[in-house]
Structures are given as C-alpha cells and as structure tokens.
C-alpha cells in the first residue's frame, strides 16, 4: 500500500490481507509482552487537527506495540491550525524524517492532498477527513463483523452475503462512506436508513439500498445494525426537528432492540449519544460490539501501519 486514504480504492484482496494481518496483530495483543519489533527505528507522526482522544490513543498504542517512535502533534487550537498551513506542517514533518503521518483533519480531502503533494513523501494514513472517509474505522468494523461471524477461522474470509444496515446521519458521516465502500467490496449487502435530509445527494447511485423507515429495515432481519452518532447541532440546521422526533424514528431503543434476533450485531463507532441514537440497553447488551470495536481498532491500525511501512518491502523480499 502506498497510502491509506480511502476504502474506495481498496480491492477485495487488499482488504482481506489487511484484516488477516490484523488477526495476527490481535494474537500479539494476547501475549505477555504485547509488542513486536517490526517498526523499530521508524518515526510515526500523529497529526490531529481535530479532537479525538479515542482515535489518537488507538493509533498511539498501535504504533508503540510495533516499537515505532511516536510523535503526537495536536494541531487543534495551536498555531498550526490558525496560521500555519497544511503545507508548512507537512514540510516540517518531512524535515523531521517522519516515515508515516496519521492525519485527522476537519476538511474533506486533506489526507488525499497530503498524499498527492510533493511536500512530504511519508506514508499517509487517513484518520478521518471531514465528511469524506475514515478508512481504519471501516476496517475495524469489518474485522469485528468477520470475527463475530467466523470466530477463530476468520482469516481469508470476506463478508459475503452479510446484511448490514447503517442508520443515521449518512450525509455527514465519514464512517458511513468508508463502510459503504469497504463492506460492499467484501461482499456485504448494505442498507442505509435515514431521513432524506441526512442522505447524501445521489445516494441512489451508491451500491446500497436506501430506506427511510427504520422499523421496516429492521424487520428485514439484518445481520448487523450499525448506529451512527447524530450531532444535536443538526437539529438547528433543520435536518430534523427535535431530538425526540429523531430518536423516535431512527433511534435504536429498547423496544426495537427486543425485536431483533439475538444473533444480530449492534455496532456504534462511538462516541455514543446514549438515549438519542442508541439506548443504554442496546449499547450495553451482549449483542453490542462497542467495546470489541475499540480493542479491534488497535489490531487493525497495527496492521495498517505494518503494511504501509514494511508490508511491501516484505513482499518483495
């Protein structure tokens, strides 16, 4: 892999390869000393222009488990996000000898711009760019689903025939975009459920089914229900009238939860608004994968870093 900017450009084989390496990495996590020397001497920069303690820590842990030197650069609120441009920061990081840059940025395309630019030739890993993509989130979601479906025999499998329903603010969700491309590439059938205001334009051209009615969609018996975080601010921009109305129509509450078969997976990328898009009962139920998702995030990010930084060399050798 040259960079990991989006899941749209990942082939099925590449995706399965990443997930399989993530399985290996997850085995490492179970060891007494959960650490590999693979990236010793490599410098990885965590460049975060947006707050996200969870993602930042997940990448930090992943890099450290591979013995890389990690520099975390929280650009938000600092001089970096105010005056200094992406270009200047990239050139600074290049001068510092960064081997990989994990970038989170509020602008869609920021990671792609870095990857295409001549400012820096480090590997670029997109940790979320605006409302565009968040590829490692989708990879960890796919990893989590695959594990629940296949247990210890997950290696080599795609998600063929798996039915995934994604509910919520699709329009503003980089998680939804990355999941749509990755899950369908892996053979899953994806249904998006949201009010029309929160669906992207031309969503009908996407390789998915689209529905407005959550109860209808749940009655179809999906294998996975993925709830997206809804931002209350959207209410003030008239995407929906009130939290109560949103929650009534598109929230996974206890009543809807009870109607789901016990083997349905309930996912959420976090952080959750309990009581809004998901009830506490749903979030904490055994059907919920929320905590597994966090743990799997580290394995998947280790795999991504490993493949980006030495995977290709290893293949050649």
């Amino acid at each position: 892999m040259k960079h990991l900017v989006s899941t749209k450009s990942i082939s099925r084989d590449e995706a399965i390869d990443i997930l399989d390496v993530a399985e290996d990495m997850s085995d490492v996590a179970g060891r007494e000393v959960p650490r590999l020397p693979a990236l010793r001497g490599k410098t990885i920069v965590n460049l975060f222009y947006e707050d996200s303690t969870r993602t930042k820590i997940s990448f930090e842990v992943a890099a450290k488990r591979l013995s890389a030197d990690v520099i975390t650069f929280s650009a938000k609120g600092s001089s970096v996000s105010k005056g200094e441009s992406l270009k200047d920061t990239a050139q600074t990081l290049a001068a510092m000898g960064a081997d990989a840059v994990i970038v989170r940025h509020p602008a869609s395309g920021a990671a792609e711009v870095l990857a295409r630019s001549s400012w820096i030739d480090a590997k670029i890993l997109n940790a979320g760019d605006g409302t565009h993509e968040h590829p490692t989130q989708a990879l960890l979601d796919a990893f989590t689903i695959r594990r629940r479906l296949h247990g210890d025999h997950a290696r080599g499998h795609g998600l063929d025939g798996c039915r995934v329903t994604i509910v919520g603010d699709i329009e503003h969700s980089r998680v939804a975009r990355s999941n749509v491309w990755l899950l369908t590439t892996l053979g899953a059938h994806v249904t998006l459920v949201a009010p029309a205001t929160l669906l992207p334009p031309s969503v009908r051209a996407w390789p998915v089914e689209v529905a407005f009615d959550l109860d209808h969609a749940l009655a179809a018996g999906p294998d996975v229900v993925m709830m997206l975080r809804i931002q209350a601010e959207r209410m003030h921009e008239s995407f929906f009238p009130t939290e109560r109305e949103y929650s009534t129509h598109w929230g996974l509450d206890d009543v809807r939860m009870r109607r789901l078969p016990g083997n349905t997976l309930v996912m959420h990328p976090g952080p959750m608004n309990r009581g809004l898009e998901i009830s506490s009962g749903a979030a904490d139920s055994p059907m919920s994968t929320v905590r597994e998702q966090v743990a799997n995030g580290v394995s998947v990010r280790m795999a991504a870093l490993y493949l980006l930084l030495i995977g290709n060399e290893a293949e050649v050798a």
Partner: protein, 452 residues
C-alpha cells in the same frame, strides 16, 4: 506618429463580408484603413499572417484584475498582459477590489491604470451596492457619468439576493442606460458549499452547491426584469436548468443576456475528485449534461457571450485542503484555445459565431465603442490573429498574469493567438507580448492623437 501595419494574407472572420480566401489589412492612425489584396505601404510594418485567421479584438465582460487591494494576485498591468496574450483588446474589471469600485475615484483610477498600461481597454464595472454589502445602492449615477462611463454594475462575488434591492437596482441602473450583471447564487442554499451537489460531492464528502441555488435567482431576476422593464445580464450561467430559464425568458421577450465561462464549457465536476483546489471555482464545475446544455445554449443564442471570469489567486490559497482554498481560476490566457476545443473543433460554433460571442456581443452589452462593425474599413483597429492549426500542451509558462491558478495546465489545447492589435498598436507579435514600455509609449501617443 502612429504605427502603420499591414497584416498580410489573413483569413477574415466576422467581417460580414463572407467570402473565403485571404485578405490584407492596412492599419493606420488607429483604424483599419483598407482591406484588399496585395496592399502596399512603404512605411508599414508587415505581419505575415498566412494561415492565420483574423478575429475582431476579443472583449471580456467579466475579469477580476484585483487592483486596487489585491496586487499579489493581479494588477491592472499584469492582468492586461494576460488579456493581450489571450487575444483580448478590452476587459471589464470587476468591482470586488479593496476599496470596492463603488465610487467615482476608484473606477476612474482603474481606468487610468488600464490606459497607461496600454495593452487593452479597461472598462471598470461599478458595484451595485456600497462595499458589495447588499444593503444600500452605490453611487451608480456618479459612476455612470464619470470619466470611466461605467455601464455594467455588479456585486460579482456576491449575489444581490435581497429581492427589493434587486428590483431597485434594475430600475435605477436602467435610468443611466446600464445593466445589472447578477452573480446568481442564493446565499442560504450555498452556505459552506464547496462543489456541485451531486454524485461526486456525495462521495467526496464536500458540501454541495445545488444547481437550484443558481436557477432560483435567475428565475426571480428575469421576472423582476420583466416587471420593471429593465435589462438584466446573468453572469457565468453554469447549469442546464439556468439555460432553460433564460431560454424561457427570452422567448417571453424579457430583455436578458447571459454569459458562460470557457471552463464551464469544457470541464466537469469529476475533476474535483483529487481535491486539487485549482478546480475549485464559483459557480462550481458541473456535470457533463450541464456542459452539453451550455454548449447548446450558445448554439441557439440563449447564451449571448463567453466571458472568462478570470480570477487570479496567490498559490498559498490553492495549495491547501479544498475547503480552505479560494474559489476561482485564471482564464484570460487560455480562453480562446478552450473555446476552440469546446466549440469550434466540435463544430458547435463557427469562427464567425466566436467573433460574435467573444467580441461584438460583449462589447454591445458593455457599451464598448467601435466593435459593432467587426473588421471593416474605418473601424477602430482592434483585432486578433489566431493560428487555429497550432497545438500546445498548456503550461504555467503560457500564463502572463501574476497568478498561476489555471485548471488547464497540462491539457493539450488547440489554437494560439499569434498577434493582438489594440488601438492600432501591436500588443502581441509572433505569439509573444510586446514589451510593456513600448506598449505604454504607443498608448500614450494614441491618447494624444485622440485628444488632438
């Protein structure tokens, strides 16, 4: 003391004379003195124009020269040079400078800068509202009666979105024989908008700019123009729906004219996929269906003119994330080549139509004198000699303004301007600009003659 020039063996376009074959043009005292074959004049400089076509000097109805205030992006001089190399002999300088061109002193200043540079006629556009604020009318009458004789008024960059203010503006500008050029962009529908709303914006996660934001304003404005009986000009029409609205309005007899940019005639929204901000423009690049409708609109006369919307920006506001980048593209230098690629080589328009949409019509809308006769004896010597057979890989080196934010760099484009003659003086010869001092000196002499 003026220059005498013979353009030898050129093919005339837009002369109304019809007829193929080559002609000689004798230029003297700033006018076209004679058309004929094997003209001779001992004192004349001869331009060998064999294989070239002669177009009347191109007139841009929509140029951002950035001076005063944004000289790092462009100056009147640098923008005039970009215009001349593109074959233009007159440009309309938009009002969104700093200070805004909303007073007599600014419009006269911009005109004088243009006169002393000498490459093109610079016709200042006056702001419709004070400071482009969209609240109070600017001193439109004073600007109209100033030395700059402003006839086009526009808040371009911003839409006159208040319906009452737009109604008043249409009526008041009509009082002085001018026209309001509207930048049609419904502000609430485009808050934070980054690119055309549709398939590509949905995938890229960029805030959509819906076509209806343009179409709704145009629909409102043509109805206002009809109601008050005033002329309206619509800037940079970019959607198929806008073309339909303008076509309907014209069929109804509403006095509306419309322009389209070269980039909207050739480029589409897919170019945003790499997040290269050189493709970020207002209005945004649209779908290929829109491009087809815009071409058809030019072909059937719904769209009257092609205007560049040349919008220079320094590199740092393009070398960044898409959402952080400025809107706009430079277009003067590439305009004619792009138009040839989009319209002539595709047989949508003939060169005589190009002469109309890039010279006589924009001149008529902007009240630029002397362009109504095309290339004819007695007409002012404003002309452009083009080699339509040339092909080039368009490069940054082909640009002549201060800024390099062209979306066409790297494209193979047809046609090349080999010579431009403005007010009887060459501004471009052998495909290269004539030196600034020579052009300025010649312009000063011509001005003296004009007064004398």
């Amino acid at each position: 003391m003026s220059q005498r020039i013979i353009v030898r063996a050129v093919e005339l376009v837009g002369s109304g004379a019809g007829g193929k074959g080559s002609t000689d043009i004798l230029i003297a005292d700033g006018v076209i003195a004679e058309l004929g074959s094997r003209l001779s004049d001992a004192k004349a400089t001869v331009i060998d124009a064999d294989g070239l076509i002669a177009l009347p000097g191109l007139v841009d109805l929509h140029t951002h020269l950035r001076e005063p205030g944004f000289e790092r992006s462009e100056t009147v001089l640098s923008g005039s040079r970009a215009a001349a190399i593109g074959g233009f002999t007159a440009v309309h300088a938009m009002a969104n400078t700093n200070p805004v061109a909303d007073t007599v002193s600014v419009v006269e200043h911009v005109m004088s800068l243009g006169d002393s540079a000498g490459y093109v006629t610079v016709r200042p556009v006056g702001a419709v509202t004070v400071g482009l604020g969209g609240v109070r009318l600017a001193e439109i009458g004073a600007m109209a009666r100033s030395r700059a004789k402003v006839r086009v008024f526009s808040d371009d960059g911003k839409c006159v979105s208040d319906a009452q203010l737009m109604r008043r503006a249409l009526e008041y500008v009509a009082t002085f024989g001018g026209v309001v050029a509207q930048h049609a962009q419904e502000p609430r529908l485009t808050e934070g908008a980054q690119m055309n709303e549709g398939r590509v914006s949905g995938e890229l996660g960029l805030e959509g700019w819906p076509s209806v934001a343009e179409e709704a304003i145009i629909a409102r404005d043509v109805l206002l123009a009809e109601f008050v009986g005033a002329r309206l000009h619509v800037c940079h029409v970019s959607t198929a729906g806008s073309v339909d609205v303008v076509r309907w309005a014209k069929a109804r007899g509403i006095p509306v004219t419309a322009e389209v940019t070269p980039h909207h005639l050739l480029l589409t929204e897919e170019l945003a996929s790499g997040y290269d901000a050189n493709f970020k423009v207002n209005p945004p690049l649209r779908r290929s269906e829109d491009v087809a409708a815009l071409r058809a609109g030019l072909a059937d006369g719904t769209i009257d003119v092609i205007a560049t919307d040349h919008a220079p920006h320094p590199q740092e506001v393009k070398d960044c994330a898409w959402a952080d980048a400025a809107f706009g593209m430079v277009g003067l230098e590439s305009a004619l080549s792009v138009v040839q690629a989009a319209l002539v080589d595709t047989e949508v328009l003939a060169w005589t139509d190009i002469a109309r949409v890039l010279s006589s019509m924009p001149a008529r809308i902007g009240h630029v004198e002397g362009y109504d006769r095309g290339i004819a004896a007695g007409a002012p010597a404003e002309l452009t000699l083009v080699d339509p057979a040339a092909r080039r890989d368009f490069e940054v080196g082909d640009l002549r303004g201060e800024s390099v934010n062209s979306p066409f760099v790297g494209l193979r484009l047809p046609g090349r301007v080999m010579a431009t003659i403005h007010a009887g003086n060459p501004t471009v010869l052998d495909g290269e600009l004539v030196a600034a001092e020579r052009v300025a000196a010649a312009a000063t002499k011509s001005e003296g003659r004009g007064r004398g």
